[in-house]
C-alpha cells in the first residue's frame, strides 16, 4: 500500500468530483427505485488463479433492461453467466462475493443450479436451436420441466410472445435449422419464454445478426420488459442507448488499480465496474472520464 503524504492526493482519491446536490439527488432516486432483481456485492470471478472480473457491486431492477457495456475482455459475459450459474459448467471457474436474486443467495450451498436456470433464462450470442422441429424446440423446456397444460397452447403463446408466430405457424414441424439467423434467435427467445422465467439474460444476442433482425429483436426486448426483467450484454453502444433503462460500464484495469480489489499480480488486467446509472445519464453526462471516453468513441 502506498503512503499518501500529499493532501491534494487524498481529495483526488475520493469519488471523482460530483457536486454535492447531485449526489444527494442520486441517492434519493435510488431509494425510490423498484426492488432489485439482482444485487451484486463485491463479486469476483476467476478462472483458475487469475480474476476475470472483480470488485463488482451494483443492482439490477425488476422490469427493467440493464445493459452491460464495455470493451472486449472486461468480463461482461463472464459476469452475466454468473447470474444463472452457467459458470458452474466450467470446472476452473470460481465465483466470490455475493450474488443475490430477490434477496436470496444464488450461490448458497443449498441452492440447486437447475432450479436457478428455470427462473433465469439465457439467450446466447450465436443462435443455438436444437436439431429438431420448431415445435419440439419450444416444447423441449416445458416437457423437461414437467409443465402442465396443452403443449400446443404453450408453443403458440411462446412464439407469439417472441414475435415469431406468424412467420412459422404453418411450418411448426419443419426443422429449426431451416430458419434464418434472425428467426433462429427469436426462436431461442421463444424457447426461453416457454418455461416462463422471471429474468431473461441476453449475451450479445444481436451480434451475429443483420440490422433488420437486430431491430426486430430490440423491439421485442422493449415489449418483453413489461413482464420480465432483462439483462443484456452488448458491444453495441447504440443498442444499449436505444433499449436499456440502466447501463453498467465496465473496463479493463490492472490489478493494482485502486478501483479494484488488491490482487497478487500487479500487471494482470481484469475487468472492473466503472459506473452504473440511468442510461440517459451514462450516455449524455457520465461521471467517470473512462465512461465518457468509451461512449463518445474516443476509446474502443
Amino acid at each position: 500500500m502506498e503512503r499518501v503524504t500529499d493532501p491534494v492526493d487524498i481529495r483526488a482519491r475520493r469519488e471523482p468530483a460530483a457536486p454535492i446536490p447531485e449526489v444527494v439527488a442520486k441517492r434519493r432516486a435510488e431509494r425510490q427505485r423498484p426492488k432489485a432483481v439482482f444485487d451484486l456485492r463485491d463479486v469476483q470471478v476467476s478462472y483458475g488463479v487469475k480474476p476475470a472480473v472483480r470488485g463488482v457491486s451494483f443492482d439490477m431492477g425488476r422490469n427493467e433492461i440493464t445493459a452491460l457495456i464495455g470493451p472486449s475482455g472486461c468480463g461482461k459475459s463472464t459476469l452475466i453467466r454468473c447470474l444463472n450459474r452457467m459458470n458452474d459448467l466450467i470446472p476452473a471457474a470460481r465465483v466470490e462475493g455475493k450474488v443475490l436474486y430477490h434477496d436470496q443467495d444464488l450461490y448458497a450451498p443449498a441452492v440447486d443450479a437447475v432450479e436457478v436456470r428455470k427462473r433465469i433464462g439465457m439467450v446466447f450470442q450465436k443462435p443455438n436451436p436444437f436439431p429438431k422441429s420448431i415445435y419440439d424446440n419450444i416444447a423441449f423446456g416445458p416437457r423437461v420441466l414437467g409443465m402442465k397444460g396443452g403443449m400446443d397452447e404453450i408453443v403458440e403463446r411462446a412464439l407469439t410472445h417472441a414475435a415469431l408466430w406468424d412467420e412459422v405457424k404453418d411450418r411448426l414441424k419443419a426443422n429449426a435449422f431451416g430458419l434464418s439467423g434472425g428467426q433462429q434467435q427469436r426462436l431461442c427467445i421463444a424457447r426461453c419464454l416457454a418455461v416462463e422465467p422471471d429474468v431473461i439474460l441476453m449475451d450479445e444476442p444481436c451480434s451475429a445478426l443483420d440490422p433488420i433482425s437486430t431491430g426486430k429483436i430490440e423491439d421485442l426486448m422493449i415489449e418483453l420488459k413489461r413482464e420480465y426483467s432483462i439483462v443484456i450484454v452488448t458491444h453495441n453502444m447504440q443498442q444499449a442507448a436505444r433499449v436499456s433503462d440502466r447501463t453498467a460500464f465496465f473496463t479493463v484495469a490492472p490489478q493494482g488499480d485502486p478501483d479494484g480489489a488488491s490482487g497478487n499480480d500487479p500487471t494482470h488486467r481484469s475487468g472492473v465496474l466503472v459506473e452504473v446509472d440511468e442510461t440517459e445519464k451514462i450516455f449524455t453526462n457520465p461521471s467517470d472520464a473512462r465512461t465518457e471516453a468509451y461512449v463518445t468513441g474516443k476509446v474502443g
Binding site: H102, Q104, A110, V111, D112
Partner: protein
C-alpha cells in the same frame, strides 16, 4: 421466503429458490455409468488375473528360466520339455517376413495418399484399404493355404516349400497389416504442416524430394508408431499362422518349413476339451502371458510415438 409484491400490472410473483432436494435420479444414473466404464477396467484386471494365476501355477512345475530360454517345446511328451524359444522364433520369423511386405507397401501407400493422390483418387483408394482391413483373418489363412502356397509359391515361383510354411503365412500376414501401417503413417504425414512442404517447394524441390526428405523425417515418430502397431498386430495374429504355417515347434529360421507361433500354439491347443489343471491347460496361459506382455509393451511404445508426433504439431 418472500411474499409476492404486486406493483404494476404484469409483474410476476417473486420466485423462491428454496432449498435444493438432492436429485437422486441423477446420482443413480451417474453411478450406473461409472459401473459400465469400470467394465473395461475389470476386463484388463480379468485378463491379468487369469493369465497370472495359471502362469504362476505353471512355474510351480516348470522353471522360469527353462521356459524362457529352453529350445525344446514338447509339452505333451512324458516328460515334457517347456522351452518356449521355438514358439518365439516362429513368431518373430513370421512377423519379420510380414514386416518386409507391410513396411514398404504400407509406407508407399501412405506417401501416395498423403502427398500425391487427388481427393477423388483418395476416395476410391481408401475404401479398398478399408476392405482389405475388413477381411476376416481366417479368410486370409484359407487363401494362404489353398491358393498362395500351391499356386504362387510352388507353381509360379518354383520354391521348394512345405505345404505348411512360414513364408506364406508371413507374406499374407504382411498384406493383412498394410491397412494398419498405412493409416497410422498417413495420419502422421498429414499432420506435418503445409508450411514445411511449401518452404521446400519454394526452393525448387521436386515432390519426390519433399516426400522423402521433408515429410518422412518430419513424420518419423508417427511412422515408427505405425510400424510398431503393425508388428503388434502380426505378433498377436492366430488364424493365418494356424492355417498356413502348420503346427510344428521348430527352432529353425527356414521360412519354407512349418512353424508354430505363440498365438497359433494357443489356438491349436485350446479347445473345449483340455482338462482344467492339466499341464496342457497351463501352457495355454503361460504362453498367453508371454504373448500379452509382448503385445502390451509394443502397444505402449507405439502410443508413446503417436503422442510425440501429435504433440509436435498440435
Amino acid at each position: 421466503m418472500e411474499a409476492s409484491t404486486t406493483t404494476a400490472a404484469g409483474t410476476r410473483a417473486v420466485p423462491e429458490l428454496g432449498t435444493a432436494r438432492r436429485r437422486w435420479g441423477e446420482d443413480v444414473i451417474k453411478a450406473l455409468l461409472v459401473l459400465a466404464a469400470l467394465i473395461s477396467v475389470l476386463t484388463t484386471t480379468g485378463i491379468v488375473i487369469a493369465l497370472l494365476r495359471e502362469t504362476i501355477d505353471f512355474f510351480g512345475s516348470v522353471g522360469v528360466w527353462d521356459f524362457l530360454s529352453g529350445g525344446k517345446w514338447t509339452p505333451l511328451f512324458e516328460p515334457g520339455s517347456f522351452g518356449v524359444r521355438p514358439l518365439v522364433v516362429g513368431t518373430f520369423l513370421i512377423t519379420a517376413i510380414a514386416l518386409v511386405v507391410a513396411a514398404p507397401l504400407g509406407l508407399g501407400a501412405a506417401i501416395y495418399l498423403s502427398e500425391y493422390a487427388r481427393p477423388r483418387v483418395r476416395k476410391t483408394i481408401k475404401p479398398v484399404l478399408e476392405l482389405l482391413a475388413g477381411v476376416p483373418t481366417i479368410v486370409f489363412g484359407y487363401f494362404a493355404l489353398t491358393y498362395f502356397t500351391p499356386n504362387i509359391l510352388q507353381d509360379l515361383l518354383h520354391l521348394e516349400v512345405n505345404i505348411f510354411n512360414a513364408l506364406s503365412a508371413g507374406i499374407i500376414m504382411g498384406f493383412m497389416i498394410i491397412p494398419t501401417v498405412a493409416s497410422v503413417a498417413e495420419d502422421a504425414m498429414s499432420a506435418v504442416p503445409h508450411s514445411l512442404r511449401e518452404g521446400a517447394y519454394g526452393l525448387g524441390a521436386s515432390k519426390l524430394q519433399v516426400s522423402l526428405r521433408v515429410v518422412l523425417p518430419a513424420a518419423l515418430s508417427g511412422i515408427v508408431a505405425a510400424i510398431v502397431l503393425g508388428v503388434s498386430r502380426a505378433v498377436g495374429e492366430t488364424m493365418i499362422v494356424l492355417l498356413a504355417s502348420g503346427q510344428v515347434a521348430s527352432n529353425s529360421v527356414d521360412p519354407r518349413e512349418p512353424h508354430f507361433s505363440l498365438a497359433s500354439f494357443i489356438g491349436s491347443t485350446a479347445g473345449g476339451d483340455t482338462p482344467t489343471g492339466s499341464i496342457e491347460y497351463k501352457t495355454i496361459f503361460a504362453v498367453g502371458m508371454l504373448l500379452f506382455v509382448i503385445t502390451l509393451v509394443m502397444n505402449l511404445i507405439s502410443i508413446r510415438f503417436v503422442r510425440r508426433y501429435r504433440q509436435v504439431y498440435e
